[in-house]
Assembly symmetry: none
Homo-oligomer: 226 residues x 2
């Protein structure tokens, strides 16, 4: 793949629309991208094959879904360099609003035994930003992270073969959130201390006032975000 080849990957309107949509950092399915760009699913497949084999996108197969996302920060810079030279403003469309119950689910919910949804993402992001958590190359807790857990009074059960930190793909945010033994311990602690409670018998969760204070104290999360 030479320079012209890489440029050729973005030289098509449909592929460019895919990449612009993926600039939000989320993972999209092939069908969503096809409907978004107004092309047939088979067309989207061939485009995604090109973009993935060209290294601009990476994919993750989950069941019958094919999730793709931008591979690298260099790709983002490339697309932004192109957009800077394209007089046509690249509008940032696409707002996914759903019904009330789904909004609650999208906000915070249980995913097996750990937290998911926008709140879980905010927690995960804050932990990474504070250097408590690392995704790659091997997901894991940092030394600071272990200390932080101890100070918060959260104990992670040992002895099991379960990996302490795992990345779980969030189906509303399309980005990975914290899972594994640490994620489960965090969730158990949040429920035990009343930072979060379940809505009825569903998997949806709400953050209590006490939880708002706690997340702000421990991670600096602005209460408005919860």
């Amino acid at each position: 793949m030479d320079l012209a080849g890489v440029a050729g990957l973005l030289a098509d309107g449909t592929r460019a629309a895919f990449c612009l949509a993926l600039l939000d950092g989320r993972a999209w399915t092939a069908n969503e991208l096809a409907r978004y760009a107004g092309v047939a699913p088979s067309t989207a497949t061939s485009h995604l094959n090109l973009l993935v084999s060209g290294g601009l996108l990476v994919e993750e197969r989950h069941g019958r879904h094919r999730y793709v996302r931008v591979a690298d920060r260099r790709v983002v810079e490339l697309i932004e360099s192109l957009a800077a030279l394209a007089p046509q403003g690249s509008a940032r469309p696409r707002s996914l609003s759903a019904s009330g119950r789904q909004q609650a689910l999208a906000r915070a919910r249980l995913c097996y035994d750990h937290l998911a949804g926008a709140v879980a993402l905010a927690i995960t992001d804050a932990m990474i930003e504070r250097g408590l958590l690392e995704w790659g190359p091997e997901p894991g807790l940092t030394g600071k992270g272990a200390l932080w857990l101890a100070e918060a009074g959260i104990t992670v059960p040992g002895g099991s073969r379960r990996p302490p930190v795992r990345a779980c793909l969030d189906w509303t945010e399309r980005r990975p959130h914290l899972a594994g033994a640490v994620g489960a311990a965090l969730c158990a602690h949040a429920l035990a201390t009343g930072w979060m409670t379940r809505i009825g018998t569903t998997r949806a969760l709400i953050v209590t006032p006490a939880g708002r204070r706690a997340w702000h104290d421990h991670l600096g999360l602005p209460p408005a975000e919860l």
Copy 2:
């Protein structure tokens, strides 16, 4: 012209070769580029029409000659972003080791607002070896590097969205040298303090005796290498 249109301008091997050749910051004539890329003059004309009307190149007519050069620093950044994702394709078919002026250019020259050529490579390599600079995965200055800059009396202007460190493909050495805001600041400082001076009005540079001392003191570069 939308994003895909801009990408399409660089999605052709001949046009990409034109732009890579023009990365040295000089102005080339249409015929030179045609011979360089191995296409007919008429073909070069149509390509140049596209690149100029697309805003990637600007032209100057002098008599019967048509000089073109890269329009803008944004275009340089775009090409570099593409080259960063096309690891193998950046090789240049023709070797420019001809006249004395070109040898001087190969030794040290301006590439837009930063240093290029063998001397620039030596500086870049020394900075990496001393742990002042890192290429990957995220090009950037280390903490030691920031300290080194301050001690050398070099201030990098902030506030801009320009990335501090970028890798710019060197067209004589075919390896990346230091670009970005740090590269520009380094170059400006070298010219301001008289470490290097321009040869006449060309882009070629020479290292002054004071510069030889300075590069040796700050980076340990052997004076023979400059």
